[in-house]
């Protein structure tokens, strides 16, 4: 082992293949590893031991912010800053402020959801060791990969390679960091 490597990558051809391999890597106790798939695979999170995404919490925070923004903006403009009497209606009422606040709830939720997704995924990240792998193009097309990182405490070149081989991985290669 000359230069320190990022980790090991193994290729799988079928979805059931990677699913069962992921279960084995999970059970072997690895933490810093990943599956590269061209499609979202139903149940792979569980097979990998990935916890439920916390994106909805960020969405909720965005939604509450949006609703409060709408209500306070309308209160500020129509009641506080420049009260204007229109048709004898109250200066402020949550009734007529509702449609705009409702739309802003959705708008802010959308931004929070997408921003949260990018933040949690650490994107944009245009350079990544995995993207340097020659065959990674197939990972956006029809092949599936498991990557186990060298920084994982259980990582051991020989043993990890053996685990991936035993799990059915092919073309096991070292990734340069």
């Amino acid at each position: 082992m000359a230069a320190p490597s990022y980790g090991l990558i193994a290729t799988f051809d079928t979805v059931p293949g990677i699913y069962h391999a992921a279960e084995q890597v999970r059970d072997a106790g690895y933490k810093h590893w990943d599956c590269i798939t061209p499609l979202p695979i139903h149940g792979l999170d569980k097979a990998m031991g990935v916890k439920r995404s916390i994106v909805p919490r960020i969405s909720l925070a965005g939604g509450i912010t949006g609703f409060c923004t709408g209500m306070s903006m309308i209160w500020f403009t129509d009641k506080f800053d420049y009260p204007l009497l229109v048709g004898g209606k109250p200066y402020f009422s949550p009734m007529f402020a509702f449609p705009v606040s409702y739309e802003l709830t959705i708008l802010f939720t959308a931004f929070a959801t997408i921003g949260g997704m990018f933040f949690l995924n650490g994107l944009p990240m245009h350079y990544h060791p995995v993207l340097k792998y020659g065959q990674i193009r197939r990972g956006m097309d029809d092949q599936l990969f498991i990557v186990i990182e060298a920084r994982d405490p259980r990582f051991n070149l020989a043993n990890t390679k053996a685990l991936l081989e035993q799990a059915g991985g092919k073309d096991i290669k070292e990734l340069e960091a």
Binding site: V15, D34, A47, V50, E103, M140
Partner: protein, 476 residues
């Protein structure tokens, strides 16, 4: 009391285990296509040399779009008086065209959001193009309210931005609600579309890199944000997509509800009705599915996408058109019934006037296109004839434009006092402006099919049998 031992014959008749009936699932990708076939098929559309027909269509679309540019330029340089509306019809084609286009957009959101929540997997092959249709329809719709304000350089007054008059928007007005509804709708539609595109842009990035096209690889890569198909990313991505679908569903229902408030909150007979919100939403989805069929059937034929847009997909779209068209027909009948039942002479007159007054021609075009046409979709033979389905989808589009015309113009032209009745006809400037929007829409749509994947590859792969981790194609 002990049971007698059952005889051998009887025990064979009693099942030890009762399995639920297995219903065959509709095949969403025909001929058992592989993952790489899907990638090659969809990316091939972008990678191939620009076909000749595309250039012809693009040229025609640009020419037609010039009519909108010309109409608007003339309007701005001369003033709003160049449009045909005047007392008593002060709101005509501008708002008709706005509601028409925004309604078309709604099918895209319905397909991408509501059908996603309902786990209708057939949406996957049409959702990308339908979402693109939504965004371009919103662009066309936005032209009309922006320019009908008159002095368009003051259009920013629509938004609460501090200005030299120190005055704010009137948030009691449904028109102001509409500003927020439509701008939120446009923004969220773009975001939803972009999130869906993310994995496919990464596929294109890598394919163009392999092909040695550095520029396109860079551009697709820039927008792909470094997506690398990581399952830890997919986990957050899928959740974000679900949340976006969850918020787009109330959004799409609220947008056309608020559009209908523009009318329903007024006191004009024919507008002042509580049925408007659901009736408008159903009409929007009806017209949108008409437009989806109008666009997808030629695309399917040109790019030989029969394995991805199957007869099952066409059946589903026709059935939704039938269902929403029937709701629209019911709403027309119910409007008449309430006009009579309310015993309000003005309300009653408005509806008699719609069907038999000076605009009766528009009313009967509307009825024949929107009520009679979709009923043909009951027949399997009609749904299997793609040419006929395409022709009928055009009728739906025409009918829904006339619906908005009938609602808006007939109610304004003859309201309470006969002394203030009138008759509205559009001027050539309005006709040009509206005609041109079809060009604007087509230009955008043609650019879309040339540069972006018209179907979500990752989602299509996920509905194939080989995407099932348990290998039996239907188990969950």
């Amino acid at each position: 009391m002990a049971h007698a031992e059952p005889s051998a014959a009887a025990s064979a008749a009693i099942l030890t285990e009762v399995k639920p009936a297995v219903l065959p699932r509709a095949v969403l990708v025909e001929h058992g296509r592989s993952f790489s076939w899907i990638t090659d098929k969809i990316c091939g559309i972008i990678e191939e040399k620009t076909p000749t027909w595309w250039w012809y269509c693009f040229g025609v679309a640009c020419f037609v779009a010039c009519f909108t540019v010309g109409g608007i330029t003339y309007l701005i340089s001369t003033g709003v008086g160049v449009w045909g509306h005047m007392n008593p019809v002060n709101w005509a084609w501008d708002i008709v065209n706005f509601v028409f286009w925004i309604g078309i957009g709604h099918a895209g959101t319905l397909i991408s959001a509501i059908l996603c929540l309902l786990r209708q997997k057939w949406r996957t092959s049409i959702n990308r193009a339908a979402e693109a249709m939504t965004i371009f329809a919103v662009v066309c719709a936005a032209i009309f309210p922006v320019f009908h304000v008159g002095r368009v350089w003051y259009a920013w007054y629509l938004f609460p931005i501090p200005n030299s008059n120190y005055i704010w928007q009137n948030f009691r007005s449904p028109l102001e609600w509409d500003v927020f509804a439509v701008s939120t709708y446009g923004t969220v539609s773009v975001l939803f579309w972009y999130v869906g595109l993310l994995p496919d842009l990464a596929t294109l990035r890598d394919r163009f890199e392999a092909a040695g096209n550095k520029l396109r690889s860079f551009l697709y890569g820039l927008f792909a944000m470094g997506w690398r198909g990581s399952n830890r990313h997919w986990s957050n991505y899928e959740m974000a997509y679900l949340v976006l679908a969850g918020i787009s569903t109330p959004l799409v229902l609220s947008v056309h509800t608020i559009v209908s408030f523009d009318f329903a909150v007024s006191l004009l007979p024919g507008w002042h009705t509580t049925i408007f919100p659901p009736y408008f939403v159903a009409g929007a989805i009806f017209s949108g599915f008409g437009m989806v069929l109008t666009l997808m059937l030629p695309l399917r034929a040109i790019y030989k996408l029969e394995d991805l847009i199957t007869q099952y997909h066409i059946d589903c779209m026709c059935k939704i058109t039938l269902a929403t068209g029937t709701i629209v027909g019911y709403a027309y009948a119910m409007e008449f019934f309430i006009a009579w039942y309310s015993a309000n002479p003005y309300e009653g007159f408005t509806f008699i006037n719609r069907a038999f007054g000076p605009y009766a021609w528009a009313y009967w075009i509307m009825i024949s296109c929107n009520v009679i046409t979709p009923q043909l979709f009951w027949f399997k033979k009609v749904r299997a004839n793609t040419t006929l389905v395409w022709v009928l989808s055009i009728f739906v589009n025409v009918g829904m434009w006339f619906e908005r015309f009938v609602i808006i113009v007939t109610s304004l032209a003859r309201d309470f006092l006969p002394s203030s009745w009138g008759y509205y006809s559009p001027s050539i400037v309005e006709i040009f402006t509206f005609f041109g929007t079809f060009g604007v829409f087509s230009v955008l749509f043609l650019l879309f099919i040339r540069f972006l994947p018209i179907m979500p590859m990752a989602e299509l792969k996920a509905v194939t049998p080989q995407a099932d981790p348990h290998g039996d194609g239907g188990h969950h």
